[in-house]
């Protein structure tokens, strides 16, 4: 096959010592950036752009633009893996796409005392997701990105409704409390500039609030600070004591066994993540929520989700990593970036004097195949590094509560500040820390709030874009076979729990109806 020959050539490029060296640097930086909340993969890549210019220019012997892109992409791979570490260990999202890991990652690490297993499960599924996505990238890049173009607002809206449908009832003891949290999330998502009409919404005249309320500072507050306040009340009980003594190899075996028993979930989520990542403008974050929702939907033990279920880690993590890899596909094949981070890498290509798009495949074969091969190498390196780090990371959970708590607070504050160098984000984090504590006390579920806040904006935008294009006629959602299928699926999923509840109520109904008749 021609592709295999080209890929072999790509490995020749990617495995040159200088390229492996810079890949290693990129991956390590990416891991650090991923671990630090606030500083994201996107800004990490942007910070290194000037250095990549020097590399691409050939100032370093043996290095060229392929080395530069391998370095930048390496940061992305590192950040995709590393973002989960802070989520799992400290209940603070290290990256936007690891927000969903707060739902089950931290509970598994803390309440069940298995930080090593939580981390290893996430790394293993990241690796498999990335591997599947890279294989699809290698063999089907062009076909899939052509199809992705037909995926417009009606189809996307369907996917978002599907995400909401799979997440309904998440962590809920009372459906009303869930709905209240969902509504609060949607309300918060509505704050700021309305891109459809250009109107200002709920910003009370503030120009800083015009940019909207970011979900990262909110989740840092709700989960990170909120959790600390809640456990301070318990005087730190249950933080360290239950951490299992065994570290290392046994976690890997347990994670692999867990992976094997969830192989179809991981494979199908990775493929879905890949397709989602190829869609222009929708990166790993939305994919991770869809991945979590699907994992929960397939599962028989839905009530275990939110309490440290491994499917709640593996499902979203493989989807997110597959989407991350896939977001480079439309950049290479069409000159359209698939995610914010790939948009920065694309900016790099411009600055180095390369034109992103289909001609790259023809005019710069070495570059494209070197990059593709480096995705395999990069993920392998990242995976190994992460596995080696697990015992050290898991040890952090044994640091006494009195020492670790101030540290987490400081990391939370610095993290939310460094998002946009904005003090407003810091106050949002603190306010939502208090709100998070109160919501915990009142037994309101946090997950629906976060889901609505993360997906609310995009869902609204795609809904309104569809309706504008369809001149106000909701028939547009059923105008193409693809969107019809997605919409019907979403509606069925939405109505299914409702139907089940009604049926559950109907069964004892005849008796009670008869009683009522008697009473009348």
């Amino acid at each position: 096959m021609e592709v295999l020959g080209l890929l072999a050539g790509g490995f020749g490029t990617a495995l040159q010592p200088i390229n492996v060296g810079f890949l290693m640097v990129g991956v390590l930086l990416g891991l650090v950036i991923g671990v630090l909340p606030g500083l994201g993969g996107t800004s990490g890549v942007a910070i290194l752009l000037p250095i990549s210019v020097v590399i691409a220019r050939g100032d370093i012997a043996g290095a060229n633009s392929t080395t530069a892109v391998i370095l930048l992409a390496g940061i992305y791979w590192g950040a995709l893996f590393g973002g989960v570490i802070t989520s799992i260990l400290f209940n603070i999202p290290g990256e936007p796409w690891s927000v969903v890991l707060l739902f089950d990652g931290f509970p598994l690490a803390k309440r069940k005392g298995k930080p090593g297993l939580a981390l290893t499960s996430s790394f293993v599924s990241s690796f498999v997701g990335a591997l599947i996505a890279t294989l699809l990238f290698t063999f089907l890049a062009k076909e899939i990105s052509d199809r992705a173009l037909a995926f417009g607002p009606p189809e996307l809206f369907g996917v978002f409704v599907l995400s909401f449908a799979t997440l309904i009832g998440l962590g809920a003891e009372s459906p009303l409390k869930s709905i209240a949290m969902l509504a609060l999330g949607l309300l918060l998502a509505a704050v700021g500039f309305d891109t459809i009409t250009g109107a200002q919404r709920l910003n009370f005249g503030s120009i800083e609030l015009l940019a909207g309320i970011g979900f990262v500072p909110v989740t840092i507050g709700l989960f990170g600070i909120g959790e600390i306040l809640a456990s301070a009340e318990e005087q730190g009980i249950g933080y360290m004591e239950k951490i299992s003594a065994r570290l290392g190899f046994s976690d890997l075996l347990e994670a692999l066994a867990a992976l094997w028993s969830r192989k179809w979930l991981v494979v199908s989520n990775s493929v879905i993540g890949f397709f989602f990542g190829v869609l222009p403008g929708h990166g790993a974050t939305a994919a991770s929520f869809l991945g979590y929702g699907l994992a929960r939907q397939y599962a028989k033990n839905k009530e275990d989700f939110g309490k440290g279920e491994i499917s709640g880690i593996m499902g979203p993590q493989c989807t997110a990593d597959a989407a991350g890899v896939a977001s480079l596909v439309p950049m290479i094949t069409l000159g359209v970036p698939g995610s914010p981070t790939s948009a920065v890498i694309m900016a790099g290509l411009f600055v180095w004097g390369l034109q992103p798009g289909p001609l790259l495949f023809i005019q710069h074969q070495d570059f494209v195949w070197g990059l593709i091969a480096s995705i395999y190498v990069g993920h392998f390196l990242t995976f190994l590094l992460c596995l080696l780090l697990v015992p050290v990371l898991a040890m952090i959970m044994r640091v006494p509560y009195a020492i670790i708590t101030p540290f987490i607070v400081v990391i939370s504050i610095i993290g939310s500040y460094s998002l946009n160098n904005s003090l407003l984000d810091v106050s949002i984090t603190i306010v939502f820390g208090l709100i998070g504590y109160w919501l915990r006390k009142m037994k309101y579920p946090l997950a629906p709030l976060v889901v609505a806040l993360v997906l609310g904006d995009s869902t609204e935008r795609e809904l309104r874009k569809s309706l504008i294009a369809g001149a106000g006629n909701p028939g547009i959602f059923f105008s193409s076979p693809l969107s019809s299928v997605i919409m019907i699926l979403a509606v069925v999923l939405l109505l299914y729990p409702l139907a089940k509840t009604i049926r559950g109520r109907l069964r004892p109904a005849p008796a009670s109806a008869a009683e009522r008749k008697h009473a009348a």
């Binding site: 800004s43 942007a46 000037p50 069409l334 914010p340 790939s342 948009a343 004097g353």
Partner: protein, 351 residues
């Protein structure tokens, strides 16, 4: 509960704003001037250039990877490579609210030359439609480095082969078109086409970036049949095999003379008489910079403009290299301010 928490939040936000504004004021540059440093100036003028004394923030109003971001980072690369500034110039993204966050940030740095900003037409449209408490003409103009033309694009499978085909179709029924943002440059141009060619009102679907606009057209997403993408935004899908997008004409006085779009008809030659609308790729500074401070930045960006790297970048992306500074640039800004005020008034964009 919700309302109250939002109110507390906004109060907090207001407090923070005040704190930030006060803090920013203290960090200004001392008025005493440094001797004119390595600015490599060639223009003999009466004023001596004043150099920055600490690192400079190059504020970008879009997210990393957006249109302006690419330009700013490219310029910053040239400044570094050619050592045009004695102090480092650091790109900083202040995205959000179609530029309003960045504009306000720079506006509040009155008189401080350690902040410069890359701007495009949202510098006019956003300030006008959001009724921000200042105008584009309040800022210190540095230079314009390029004019990014607009093309009229259709999908490769479209029956419209020329601009008259498109205009005729648009006069019969409302065509679904896409563009970046709402009440921004793409919509402004479509509204001008509407009144110039007397078409039915276009159904305008706002997108988040130029790249997603091009993708929406290539996939007929939600029935989108035309766009006014810039040449660089459409080039990937234009060069794809099979070709996905086709430019019908260019809104420029002359056809492109070189590059991938060589020989593309002008819209004017096809009866659609709009030749004066471009996206500016310009650098602005906070209000009230001294003449010497302004001169330093004009010299720096003249250096960027004259570099071979910039020339290649212009050619690769079918941009019109056009350097404007001083009185010419001030007039350009005033003209564009007027043009956008007129469009906003005509289409009832300011409520």
């Amino acid at each position: 509960m919700t309302l109250r928490s939002t109110r507390v939040l906004s109060l907090l936000a207001a407090g923070m704003l005040v704190a930030v504004a006060c803090g920013g004021g203290g960090g200004g540059t001392p008025a005493s001037s440094q001797p004119a440093a390595a600015s490599g100036t060639t223009q003999p003028t009466g004023v001596a250039a004043i150099s920055p004394t600490r690192p400079v923030e190059f504020v970008i109003s879009t997210a990393p990877g957006g249109g302006s971001d690419i330009y700013a980072r490219f310029m910053q690369g040239v400044i570094e490579k050619q050592k045009l500034s004695p102090q480092p110039v650091q790109p900083v993204n202040k995205e959000g609210a179609s530029g309003a966050v960045a504009f306000t940030y720079v506006f509040e740095k009155r008189g401080d030359m350690h902040y410069i900003m890359i701007t495009l037409n949202s510098f006019f449209t956003t300030i006008i439609t959001q009724k921000l408490p200042y105008k584009a003409t309040d800022f210190t103009p540095i230079a314009n480095l390029a004019l990014d033309p607009f093309f009229l694009w259709v999908n490769e499978d479209s029956p419209w082969k020329t601009a008259p085909d498109f205009v005729k179709a648009a006069q019969d029924k409302s065509i679904v078109v896409a563009g970046t943002g709402s009440k921004q440059e793409d919509e402004a141009l479509f509204r001008r086409i509407q009144s110039t060619a007397n078409t039915k009102p276009f159904t305008f679907v706002p997108q988040t970036s130029g790249a997603t606009v091009a993708a929406a057209l290539a996939g007929h997403q939600g029935g989108v049949d035309a766009t006014v993408n810039n040449p660089s935004e459409g080039i990937g899908l234009y060069q794809a095999t099979p070709r996905k997008l086709r430019p019908l004409c260019a809104f420029t006085p002359d056809s492109p003379a070189a590059g991938a779009y060589k020989g593309l008809a002008t819209c004017k030659s096809q009866g659609l008489d709009i030749t004066d609308y471009y996206i500016m790729r310009a650098v602005m500074a906070p209000p009230s910079l001294s003449a010497g401070q302004q001169k330093f930045w004009v010299d720096v960006f003249k250096g960027v403009f004259d570099s071979a790297d910039w020339k290649k970048f212009m050619d690769d992306n079918a941009l019109d290299p056009k350097f404007l500074s001083g009185a010419d640039f001030t007039k350009f800004i005033a003209d564009y301010q007027k043009l956008h005020e007129d469009i906003a008034a005509k289409n009832n964009w300011v409520q």
